[in-house]
Symmetry: C2
Subunit: 367 residues, 2 copies
DNA sequence: TTGTATGCGTTATCAA
DNA sequence: TTGATAACGCATACAA
């Protein structure tokens, strides 16, 4: 295995200049089909791979995609990343993970590095949170950027991928109403997050449509964690039986887990005494008892879709993995202008926590 | 924000040559403390960040660590990555994720890129599997490499991080024996994996120590999945009651989940009729009912430890995040030679699936 | 259609 | 202790 074969070696072997080799490497149209073919074969023969650093330096398109991830503690981040990895695997790009550990300092550092170094062709910001302003700045500087974020109002004009939280919540509560419930509580997530506000709105909308007035006593605040859910649920279960709700819509699956614990503790049966719907559909929700009826967020698909969106924005096209030999050349940059805001569908997943399902509501569609 | 400030700008501003700036950037000892200080301040003032591509090209140490990950479908991979990210966050390195999607082609491609491109300072191979041979080759070529792998016998001399599967399994089965069980079944994982062989050995060892002869009828093969566990468990539950085991040691947590399902289906109560111990301690295991007693693998710590090991191997030291100004210079490369094989402790986590715990065995130590 | 020459930002090798 | 200067491997005008 020749330790390092460069573009020069290829050029020499092919009897051309390295400029020509560079041209076929970058899919320039102006090169003789015959020579291209010849060069291509030599490239394959030598299993030559261009040096990223060099092409990056020389101003060429980099093959690196930066991914900003919040500390991997959020449950769903790995799923998003899985989707991202799947999409990237189809291309010749690689992933650079910038994981932000809450510290403001770190963020600006990493971002500065991205800014300065021309090494990344694009950026995917997953719940950028505090670093949103850096991301925005990068976007202004022309860096192709896509964000996945449900915490804040997505900045205008920055491509964004997410779900419709309002309709998801609406679907969840509609499900409960169709099962006959009218006393429905809601344990919310941190209301500074846009998604929590939207889920709350969806909850209210479903109730109002059914002619039900939301009862403030049944709207409690959680924090997306099991602990938060447990604490809030205890308050509900401490209510005298006649003042208790018959169903709860939790703003997240972990919140629902906490509710289940609190119910066990209080001798409240689920779904016997109280029906429960969550929001997320984490893997655990299929195993927990009772199985959790919940709104599925397509995390993997979100990651994949976001990457596809990002690729469509890169001026050079994704370059599938076996590109040099078997791809059509020439006019290939007809990337259709994608929408800058992609809403993925949520889906109701029915399990045991609402009791026997009565009818075909298992795949009720988000409106 | 000056769009790109280079080493030349710093040199000009400091009234020195870029060679000198480069020296302080790379912590060379031979530079006047006064000049160093001056340059350092200007660097900070300009928030200058060296261009990775350029330094990579010029032969300097890259600040990129390659991480080979199998498709993110394995449950524990995200946890390992979390640990990796934590360790990397302490340094000025960044992470490049190479996710291998089973396809042999992809692997050699990615590896070749790593090999050719001098961009990555080191490599962490997580369960490299088929690409193990490439990894070995890279190691021979002098690339600093650490692997986390429980599938095969770790190649000699390649630093390795993992757990002691034998003693973990031993601890699990000892726990069951101490609870009074003597009819203990084992649903194994794919036996081509080293870890599965070791867990099986630990199972046998514990039984033999207690004077129990393993019953071949109670040793079944699973495949680490819930489905596999369910299928195997059904066979066990199909046995006439007097020939059934009273306890099961599952080779993985998902396997245990499958056993729980099969038990529900067969009307077998856990822990009433059968005690159950798993291996992994995935997050789900705390929520599933009954709560799963299991052997905890310290995934996050594995990732962190592996990175620390890798950093200790890089000839230049990890360079903490605020290095240029507040770090001691000079003789800094006294990286103590770390052991090349790091075994992390597993731990017994007691939950409900084995019945009421009787005594202080909750934190029984691996031998 | 192809080749030549120059530059990208940094490190390393010399001298000074 | 410092400063020129030559690589590093590739992309891109500009010529031919």
């Amino acid at each position: 295995m020749a330790d390092k074969v460069t573009i020069n070696d290829i050029a020499r072997l092919a009897g051309v200049s390295k400029a020509t080799v560079s041209r076929v490497l970058n899919r320039k149209p102006d090169v003789d089909p015959a020579t291209r073919e010849r060069i291509l074969h030599i490239i394959e023969e030598q299993s030559f791979v261009p040096n990223m650093a060099a092409s990056g330096l020389a101003g060429g398109q980099s093959r690196l995609i930066g991914v900003l991830v919040p500390s991997l503690t959020w449950h769903f981040i790995p799923y998003i990343i899985r989707g991202v990895a799947e999409a990237v695997a189809q291309t010749s790009y690689d992933l650079v993970l910038y994981s932000m550990n809450d510290l403001e300092q770190d963020k600006s550092d990493a971002l500065a590095r991205i800014l300065t170094t021309k090494l990344t062709a694009g950026l995917l910001g997953i719940v950028p949170g505090q670093s949103a302003k850096y991301v925005t700045r990068l976007h202004k500087h022309g860096m192709p950027i896509v964000i996945i974020d449900d915490q804040i109002q997505p900045p205008a004009h920055i491509p964004w991928v997410g779900v419709d939280n309002l309709s998801g919540a609406y679907t969840a509560v509609r499900h409960l109403i169709r099962l006959g419930h009218r006393r429905i509580a809601h344990i919310r997530g941190p209301m500074r997050n846009l998604c929590c506000q939207e889920r709350h709105q969806g909850y209210c909308k479903a109730l109002q449509e059914a002619g039900i007035t939301p009862n403030p006593e049944w709207i409690l605040d959680g924090d997306f964690t099991s602990e938060g859910g447990e604490i809030a649920a205890r308050k509900l279960f401490a209510l005298p039986p006649e003042k208790r709700p018959t169903a709860i819509f939790a703003s997240s699956d972990p919140t629902a887990y906490g509710i289940i614990s609190a119910a066990e503790e209080a001798g409240v049966r689920i779904p016997g005494d109280i029906a429960l719907v969550g929001f997320d559909d984490l893997e655990t929700s299929a195993y927990i008892r009772p199985g959790l009826t919940t709104i599925r967020q397509p995390f993997v698909e979100m990651g994949r879709k976001a990457m596809e969106l990002l690729f469509s924005m890169l001026n050079t096209q994704p370059l599938s993995k076996q590109p040099l030999l078997h791809q059509p050349f020439g006019a290939a940059n007809q990337t259709e202008s994608e929408p800058v805001r992609v809403y993925l569908d949520t889906r109701l997943v029915v399990r045991a926590s609402c009791g026997a399902s009565q009818g075909p509501q298992s795949f009720a569609q988000a409106v």
